[in-house]
């Protein structure tokens, strides 16, 4: 199995065996992060640009650590301190970076499709670190790795994703990845937070959280994106929380050995109670650990063309 793509833009475009190959590679990068010298020379001399046009802490730090642990050189380009505020277009900024011979570019942008557009015009590897409400493929991969580690498999599991599906790129990547690997996915939210036609992605739709949690193996709580709630999609945060907050009482409906996941950052008491977030079923810290391993695997696998050479 070789993953031949130049870029990682979506999980939608990956086959089950490609996803499994990335997860297997990530599993061995996890070991690197437990050493006292947390570094391997695999990407020595390569330059990775982190091109973030939206606030991000964990994804950017996670990518930065991943690249550093592979011995790559990192360049941080953020909108506020770049020529983009002087009116330079994104494409011109990219061309400038390309002229300085970069190898990979990790992009986050508030508009869906920006990584695709950049990937089409550059020879460098483009990795989507979240584009609008479209996809966040490395988050999807780290979620898959966490589920696979905890449950030993993905096929046949029932995963319930709860919250603002409409605005969530995480939900989309998770749905593509999980369904491709054979899991059953449920989504649960008030109708105003579910996009029209979501069932076409192969998911079961619920509006009642209690029913959605019944017998589920994985409870995936999305962040309520308060910054994107200006259109009165629900009456108040208090009401949302009364109906959709995952707490220990509601969690009893899930399987006994169910795990709880959240992509962070959490709004404690809104979509998830502190009791659940800090409880024994919570895999939130594990997700963060796996994030570095998955990003190392993606950066590593995307570098270099296929070439037969025997050692």
């Amino acid at each position: 199995m070789t993953w031949k793509s130049k870029d990682l833009l979506t999980l939608e475009e990956l086959s089950a065996s490609e996803i499994t190959h990335i997860l297997d590679t990530a599993a061995s990068f996890k070991e690197v992060s437990t050493r006292s010298v947390k570094k391997v020379p695999a990407l020595r001399g390569r330059t990775v640009v982190l091109f973030f046009h939206e606030p991000s802490t964990r994804t950017r730090i996670s990518f930065e650590l991943a690249a550093k642990r592979l011995s790559a050189d990192i360049l941080n380009v953020q909108t506020a301190s770049s020529s983009l505020v002087k009116g330079e277009t994104l494409i011109d900024t990219l061309k400038t970076l390309e002229s300085m011979t970069i190898d990979a570019i990790v992009v986050r942008h508030k508009c869906s499709g920006v990584p695709q557009m950049l990937a089409n015009i550059t020879k460098a590897t483009v990795i989507n670190a979240g584009d609008g409400a479209h996809e966040h493929p490395t988050q999807g991969l780290l979620d898959l790795l966490t589920i696979r580690e905890q449950k030993g498999k993905i096929e046949g599991l029932t995963v319930t994703i709860i919250g603002d599906i409409t605005h969530s790129r995480v939900a989309r990547s998770d749905i593509y990845g999980l369904t491709r690997l054979g899991a059953k996915v449920r989504v649960c939210a008030p109708p105003t937070l579910l996009p029209v036609g979501i069932e076409k992605m192969g998911v079961e739709v619920f509006h009642d959280l209690n029913k959605a949690l019944d017998g589920t193996d994985v409870v995936y709580v999305l962040r309520l994106q308060l910054e994107r709630q200006k259109n009165n999609l629900f009456p108040t945060i208090r009401e949302y929380s009364l109906l959709y907050c995952v707490n220990n009482e509601r969690l009893k409906r899930a399987k006994k050995d169910a795990i709880v996941m959240h992509p962070g950052p959490m709004n404690r008491g809104v979509e998830i109670s502190s009791g659940v977030a800090d409880g024994p079923k919570s895999m939130i810290d594990e997700q963060v650990t796996n994030g570095v391993a998955v990003r190392m695997a993606v950066l590593y696998l995307l570098q270099g063309e296929k070439e037969e050479k025997h050692v």
């Binding site: 199995m1 070789t2 993953w3 031949k4 190959h21 297997d24 590679t25 599993a27 061995s28 996890k30 070991e31 690197v32 050493r35 006292s36 010298v37 570094k39 391997v40 020379p41 695999a42 990407l43 020595r44 001399g45 390569r46 592979l70 590593y300 696998l301 570098q303 270099g304 063309e305 296929k306 070439e307 050479k309 025997h310 050692v311």
Partner: protein
């Protein structure tokens, strides 16, 4: 991919076992026992051979020698240009290598590039007193200044051929073949 055409059987199970027994004795002789000795196999078959050597040494000396396994994928000199077919597996070194006499174990010594990668990786874990290199087969054609301290069998080969080491644990039989390289 068609399986490579086998030209000759070079070692069968008995030869294989005798070679490992001799290497175990040579390791003990050179190091005057098992004090500070650790065995590290290069994945995947070197790991199995390291485990076998550990068992043999235990049979001779009566006590355990720690053994571990390296996956050298991330240390290969073509790591940035080569996309591996197989997903790498974790490196397992359940001991401190500082001040240890490391016996690096692999199935075939060919260009010497794997050994270079393995040595670099071991050094990232600490500073061993020494690193010695044990291989089941030395087939020549070195590209790096590397030699083995313990050799099961020297097999002069053409670089157009392949030397295949099969082990019971993963291939069903302990055998060494020479085969035609795939076209």
């Amino acid at each position: 991919m068609t399986p490579p055409k086998i030209k000759a059987l070079i070692m069968e199970a008995r030869d294989f076992d005798r070679a490992l027994t001799r290497i175990a004795h040579e390791i003990l002789e050179r190091n005057k026992g098992i004090q500070d000795l650790v065995l590290i196999g290069i994945k995947s078959r070197g790991e199995i051979l390291a485990e076998r050597l550990a068992a043999k040494i235990k049979g001779i000396e009566g006590s355990e020698v720690p053994f571990g396994a390296l996956d050298i994928t991330f240390y290969r000199d073509d790591a940035g240009t080569h996309r591996p077919e197989k997903a790498p597996t974790p490196t397992l070194l359940p001991f401190d290598v500082n001040k240890k006499k490391v016996i690096l174990v692999d199935d075939v010594l060919y260009t010497g590039r794997s050994a270079r990668a393995a040595i670099d990786q071991i050094i990232d874990f600490g500073r061993p007193t020494s690193i010695q290199y044990a291989v089941l087969v030395d087939r020549g054609h070195r590209e790096f200044p590397i030699h083995a301290d313990y050799v099961g069998k020297n097999i002069p080969s053409s670089s157009k051929e392949k030397v295949l080491v099969h082990v019971k644990e993963s291939d069903g039989k302990d055998e060494v073949y020479i085969a035609e390289a795939e076209a």
